[in-house]
Subunit: 413 residues, 2 copies
Amino acid sequence: MTETSDSQRCVPCSFDRGPPDRWAAVLRLCPKGFLVPARVTLRDVARVAAVSAKTVSRVVNQDEHVTPSTRARVQRAIADLGFQPNLVARSLRVGRADVIGLVVESLADPFFARLTSAVEQEAHERGLAVMVSSVGHVPERESVIVQSLLVRQVAGLIVTPMSQSHAYLAGTQQRTPVVFVDRLPEDITSDAVLVDDLAAGEAATRHLLDHGHRRIGFLGSELRNPTTRLRLAGYRRALAERGIPDDGSLVAVGAGSAQQAREAAEKLLSGPRPPTAIFSSNMRCSLGLVPLLHGSGRTDVAVVSFDDFPMADSLEPAVTVIDHDPELIGRAAADRLFRRLEDLDAPAETVVVPVRLVPRGSGELRPPGPSGGRDSGADGRRPPASPAERDMRPAPRQEAADGARRSGRGRRP
Amino acid sequence: MTETSDSQRCVPCSFDRGPPDRWAAVLRLCPKGFLVPARVTLRDVARVAAVSAKTVSRVVNQDEHVTPSTRARVQRAIADLGFQPNLVARSLRVGRADVIGLVVESLADPFFARLTSAVEQEAHERGLAVMVSSVGHVPERESVIVQSLLVRQVAGLIVTPMSQSHAYLAGTQQRTPVVFVDRLPEDITSDAVLVDDLAAGEAATRHLLDHGHRRIGFLGSELRNPTTRLRLAGYRRALAERGIPDDGSLVAVGAGSAQQAREAAEKLLSGPRPPTAIFSSNMRCSLGLVPLLHGSGRTDVAVVSFDDFPMADSLEPAVTVIDHDPELIGRAAADRLFRRLEDLDAPAETVVVPVRLVPRGSGELRPPGPSGGRDSGADGRRPPASPAERDMRPAPRQEAADGARRSGRGRRP
DNA sequence: CGAGGTGTTGACATCGTTGACACGGGCTTG
DNA sequence: CAAGCCCGTGTCAACGATGTCAACACCTCG
């Protein structure tokens, strides 16, 4: 076959469809005389079933008002011709695609990958497709990427805010709702799904305090990052709660990479009065800290890590983590979005997703020396008291999304 | 505001557009008398610029045949009205969406996440969006998911084959090309991007042989998985090459989880004549094996792991890996797809993406005892000879995609 | 000066689907 | 028995863009 590709592409085929021949819809004659497979449309089905296109549409859309016999005839024709509705045409007609847009920082990041996975699953269950786009490390790209999804008429958006301002979405929200995840948007009121970073920082620190530690280090990335700020605030709050003075020399922030975190941790531990425990406030930090401790045989230092990471449970001692559960966040965000699509005028909601502390060993180490904790009992945990600590309890996945605390925040008055 | 949502949704607005008023396009009067933001269309721009819709279309699409002055007037109007073309309408008209579909096993898997990330980046550069769907562990879902993307008129597909047969795509390929990744499809000839599993298995094994090992274990998951089969074949080929008899007791397959791998490795090492080195043929296996070795102080056993994993380079000794580079695979697949879109009739191509061995320590350990290798030199590597070994050389990322070996496989004759 | 070419612009139909509305027949109801 | 209703079905136009083709203006050259 050395025909030109014309014989295959042949899009505008003005062949007169003639009598209701079953095959005319499947194979179509080109002007050049070739038979080419053609898309089967509603009208083709209509012709074969001897009804109007509208009726076929009704059958396809499960409209009640169709006689069983007609329905059967149409379904037969649909099956015979292998008709598949063109969702692009439908989208144009109804003014919105059955697609949601997801904007994340980076898909290569396991956190966002798992988030995306959860969103995709939820969407798929509702027959919606998902378009993902990653912004990378250039916050200004956010709005461009959001635009590129809006022009594709997505029904709604889930966005990890990176931009300095989200005012550009103000006019759009009424038509295309946006749910923000992980952080709150700037300059705009909108639905959001957050991790309870403050409570998490508090819980991690409290956990170490409960195991007798009094000198607890904090390892974190840039303070520009609101997430880090909140976790640090939680750390400080837990210390204050127990009347432990804030020792600035125990706080090491600004570690953007695992390597930097490793160095920061080295410095922390080699100081005059080193910490007996460290709260590593994100995965990159942990990936610097943990190998350092293992490599240098300092497995006596207690560690609680924010973000679970591969191998965390295989090490000796296994690493106690605050588990983020990106799936839960994704499910909650998708859920919020679908609810929003059903009621565009309800007030904006912020969903706070609980995190849970997974004790595995490293966080339950007791400080060395005579200063051993005053606590008795193997674990030393007090009964849960604060709401923050309630959230720490492991929750079955199914219920967790619904169990998330909701705090309505009024839309502009 | 307690208006019913009608005042906001107001989609079919039959307000007569009247004279060419700039604002009529942006704010529109509802029958109820509310001003609502409305979508700006080509016709709105046309009216404001006093040209036809077609001319606006030409300007938007960078058509040359427009007078500079007209173009300027139109661009002015576009800017004034904030016009954004409706890509769904365009897609309907041209018969295909500027979207590609990506079907993976699971987005939560870091391999697929990074693959997705790369595909998305490549697509984004070309102005295409990406719809992702994951199949999960039910191969039968593959075709359903592919269909759901096809009805959305995606321009092309990148698919991780899971289904037993891909014959269902035979009729579709001419209209919507498919590039398979990671594995070859069944029952169909198509473009594909593969990792050179055989060469990788060979290279890993040869690397250990070159460091003096003669008893090398193989740790892998189910043999149902063609990927595992190929890596095992590479392992056997490398052994045969050196005249080392195949000792079945050194091959442990069927380990589906890290835990199972750990147990399998334990059995391997506790046997009467344990291996001095182990080739762990995937990440899950390594996540079982490596902590086992570290935990039991058996850091004398040499290890080469297929798939890099977090912390692999932080351990002591750091783990020598065969690096997969999902990004490279994703880029190659996207690239193949875009080329295919430009020439639907070229013969199918299989692109084999090179992998590289990253020596970090664990793979360069020499066997204990008097049987030390006959090789001299610190590394003991021979000059690269086979094509497989050529691929092992680290390649700069930019060139690697183009440097991938291509083997054309004729389309049906 | 007219024929022919080149290049800009617009009218119109069309992509495949669905919402609004109309029509006719059978049913209920006063 | 007439008025009114519901029900199944069809007609038509529209969603917003673009391909085709023709109209027209302007230029060049014989």
